[in-house]
Subunit: 162 residues, 2 copies
């Protein structure tokens, strides 16, 4: 059952395009909304010289001092090689340190510097402000429902891959 007129998109200067089939997929709705949120996040982080992935890494290192690159890559769900350039960017700005671990000289213990922690605080304040503005029309109960649904999707996928 397709709605007659509701599932149409009116692009600013363009004509009406029928998106009803696509809009029937929750994954499509997720992608479009996430694209909006990522664009907003990119703007929030730009003054700090951070991108989504460098910011994510900075947060996880600050919240988990001493973790290794492999652990961080697993937590971020990125491949280990891809993390190298992300950490290089943070290290070159002296936001994090790669500290040698005497007990296992293969690994690095990742830690934020004072400068890194200060940037983390400032950037996080900005990101929160941006997100709250974007979500202003969505009440707390709805947000909670959305978050729980997202967690269910992640956990379902984890189960399916066993």
């Amino acid at each position: 059952m397709k709605p007659a007129l509701s599932d149409k998109t009116h692009k600013s200067a363009g004509p009406i395009v029928d998106e009803s089939t696509l809009q029937g997929f929750l994954g499509y709705q997720l992608k479009r909304a996430f694209n909006v949120m990522q664009a907003d996040l990119t703007q929030a982080l730009k003054p700090h010289g951070l991108r989504m992935l460098t910011y994510t890494a900075l947060i996880l290192i600050a919240d988990n001092p001493g973790l290794s690159q492999s652990q961080l890559a697993a937590a971020m769900d990125v491949e280990r090689p891809n993390l190298v350039v992300i950490l290089d960017a943070l290290e070159h700005r002296a936001l994090i340190l790669r500290e040698r671990v005497p007990s296992d000289r293969r690994t690095y213990a990742l830690k934020v510097t004072l400068k890194g922690r200060q940037l983390y605080e400032k950037a996080t304040a900005d990101v929160k402000t941006h997100e709250q503005a974007l979500l202003a029309g969505i009440d707390a109960a709805t947000r909670k429902t959305v978050v729980e649904a997202m967690l269910l999707i992640r956990h379902r996928a984890a189960k399916d891959s066993l």
Copy 2:
């Protein structure tokens, strides 16, 4: 207020990493869940030789016969140059046609071929099956709430950019 133990991720073979700051961002939850859904979609489309963007274009052309590349690019929210390779892939497989428009020889009227429509039907059935499996633990009311929240995010962004 951070939960004491709940916001932890237990990676299959890895240690526990504190993700609580990140999980406080709805955008982060969206990204992680979308990554899961996209991986699932990619698997569903692989047997058909389609990727997310080629599939999206195929759907929109099938549902909007005769639309132009500019209109399609606007509907998909991709830049016009990036659409060219997507349509090339579909056209080379004879799934769509670029028909010249006599009244305006600059534009193409995009249409699916019979083969394109048949693939659209088969692929869509598979994609629906995959998505339903992934969303099996989420009831209809929750899905509706999620979709409405995603639409609010998109519309809020549209307003903010005025």
